[in-house]
């Protein structure tokens, strides 16, 4: 009983001392689950290359969750870096400012391709935004009028597509990927299908027009996946004719189970995405608190290591994992902007 008391006392005492904030000796990172695998590779290689520094801690939790933690304030109890699969929003910059995070450095790490894939046993799939829009939108134009989506099979949308029930597994609304899907596929398809004109005639507000264009059908044929790509993969394994949305790197790791679809006739690959031929891609970022540079050991070195060509170049471990490297001039610009301490 006495030793128990002592242990409790020691624990409480150590806890009390901890309150007098200890200086952190490793970098803390949080944010996008898309950037997570890349950040993990960099964190691990960073610690191997610089044995003096501890391995950075990388939390997942989504772009928005990460930026929210990032904007909590300045100090060792707050994270140093927020990974994001989308640019930071104006409102988030404001929230950061209000909490004292006035100096934020933006670092672009490269591009991520978003691919459509189906089970490997299916025939080759050739998609265009127009067909995807017609298959997945909530409302489409038939005979010049907006009606609830009547299509049940892909072959009804376009006779060249397979004669299979429409079943699409698309990222849920909390995913950063969803935004890219809406912009690059649904909004583009909406225009190509001529639905935008019909919508314009019906609604005058521009925001509402866009919202109508990217609204996804809710009758169960398009399924929102709120989990990760592993869930989408499991859904496709269960429904062989389903079409799923994946990140390029995830697809490449599971290429024996999936067959990738072309978009506008282009096969997605790091080359076609880098050249801009493949239309569905987005930049990936991380944000650094300038106030923490020089305070948290290893933070500056981590960012420099991350932006070096050894990590984000065209022949780097990240490119091998599926990151699409930015053109050389842009990479040079990224490094220069960080070295100059350019803030947002």
């Amino acid at each position: 009983m006495k030793s128990l008391k002592l242990t409790v006392a020691a624990l409480v005492a150590s806890a009390a001392f901890a309150g007098v904030a200890v200086a952190r000796d490793q970098v803390q990172i949080a944010g996008s689950s898309t950037v997570l695998p890349y950040a993990k590779i960099v964190a691990e290689t960073f610690a191997e290359t610089y044995p003096d520094f501890k391995t950075p801690i990388v939390e997942s939790g989504g772009s928005s969750g990460g930026l929210k933690e990032f904007c909590k304030g300045v100090g060792p109890n707050t994270i140093d870096v927020a990974n994001s699969s989308r640019p930071i929003k104006e409102s988030e910059v404001e929230a950061c400012k209000a909490a004292g995070v006035t100096e934020i450095q933006e670092v672009k790490i490269g591009y991520d391709g978003i691919v459509f894939a189906t089970d490997s046993g299916n025939a080759d799939l050739k998609l265009v935004p127009k067909d995807l829009y017609l298959g997945l939108a909530a409302e489409v134009v038939v005979d010049g009028k907006l009606v609830a989506n009547p299509y049940k099979k892909w072959s009804e949308v376009n006779k060249d597509l397979p004669d299979a029930e429409i079943a699409a597994y698309i990222p849920g609304e909390k995913h950063g990927t969803r935004e890219v899907f809406e912009e690059k596929i649904l909004a583009a398809g909406c225009k190509d299908a001529g639905a935008l004109d019909a919508i314009k005639a019906a609604v005058s507000d521009e925001k509402e027009q866009h919202a109508k264009c990217v609204a996804v059908r809710k009758d169960g044929l398009a399924v929102d996946i709120d989990g990760d790509y592993t869930e989408t993969l499991a859904r496709i394994a269960a429904n062989k004719s389903g079409i799923g949305v994946f990140g390029l790197s995830f697809y490449e790791n599971n290429a024996d189970k999936l067959k990738v679809a072309t978009v506008n006739g282009i096969v997605p690959s790091t080359e076609t995405i880098a050249s801009g031929e493949y239309p569905v891609s987005r930049p990936l970022f991380f944000y650094v608190k300038k106030a923490h540079l020089g305070v948290i050991p290893g933070l500056k070195e981590y960012v420099e290591f991350f932006t070096s060509d050894d990590m984000i170049g065209p022949d780097s471990p990240l490119a091998e994992y599926g990151l699409v490297a930015a053109p050389e001039a842009e990479r040079e610009e990224i490094r220069k902007a960080f070295a100059d301490g350019k803030i947002m």
């Binding site: 806890a15 901890a18 309150g19 200890v22 391995t55 290429a255």
Partner: protein
Amino acid sequence: MSQVSTSPSMAAVGASAKPERRDIGLRGRYAAERRFRFYGMAAIAFGLLFLFLLLFSVVSKGYTAFQQTMITIPVEFSQQIIDKNNERATNPQKLVTANYPVVARNALAKVLGVSEDDRAGLKAVNGMISDSVRVQLRNLVTADPSIIGTTQKVTFLAHGDLDSAFKGQIDLSVPETNRKVSDKQVGWMNQLAESGALSKHFNTGLFTNGASSRPEAAGVGVALIGSLYMMLIVLVLSLPIGVAASIYLEEFAPKNRFTDLIEVNINNLAAVPSIVYGLLGLAVFINFAGFPRSAALVGGLVLTLMTLPTIIIATRAALKAVPPSIRAAALGLGASKMQTVFHHVLPLAMPGILTGTIIGLAHALGETAPLLLIGMVAFVADVPATPMDPATALPVQIYMWANEAERAFVERTSGAIIVLLIFLILMNVGAILLRRRFERRW
């Protein structure tokens, strides 16, 4: 009418044994009992079926994670590659930054007979070796620099994709471009396996390594230690606090509206979703008290808050179950109220308290939601030396591996579940043993 019908039967019973009439009700009741037993057995069979399915799916997918493909070949620690200009005496950093992966690659290329000029071949050879070889060879060299220039037999990890292929988890019938290992690499793999250079070893790294982006080098070591720290903190804090609170409420506190209110609140807290405790922990322990993010200490404190109501409820039930006659006898013999409680009531309630504590701990062990907000759902590679260092927990590691893209993480996810189940079984066995020990005192 009843008179008419009963009187002959009465007479019949009196005259000779004619049991049929009495059997009517009995048969129905027996049948009801049989039916009920059948329902009960069906329920148990149903439960067992699902337990079996769960165990089967986990074990059948996960048992391969306990073995790892490794390559054992003679490695030449070439002076040319590691320390070309012989400057390690003046510049020790040279040994740290040397290009060790090339050392391993050249060694394997030599065994496979790949020429030094065949760039594509060398790249394919490189793809068979885990990147973790860099740290392994570096540690060998920095521990003993005299091995530079010599040739040593080294066992290192094969690449995760090769490991999956060797275990038959990659479908080799699909076109070469659609899989991570090429036909050439598969050929080399079989060649190495035949000569005995490539074989499966027990995967100690699974228990000692921290998280890694390379599946072959990833392990639950950090998660195991993190879970262990948290369980210790939960035990050390919640058991004394919980038992003290329940003894006071049960034995000493007056029964009035205020204590009723406390009781209702404790029962409510036991049903609060665990994520709420995570929010509380973030606000109190990290933002207010300034504890470090991702630390096992904060995780332990949050889980303590979550476990306390369970322990208090179980302890109060155990105290209530001690017969009042024991208290009355102790008081009658002149023991004080406190002596009664600590010498007689508490020892008798101990088995119940321990059961409640273990159930609470097991619950806390499997929790991920409250850890999400305090930064413990994270990639942590370094083994935590103290509870103040960043750590993760076992269920968190399972969750994170389940979301990985690489095929080799599938078996590791199930492997980690097996480790978690073993952890839970050990805890429950411990509880049963402790309970047996205390129960003898009755």
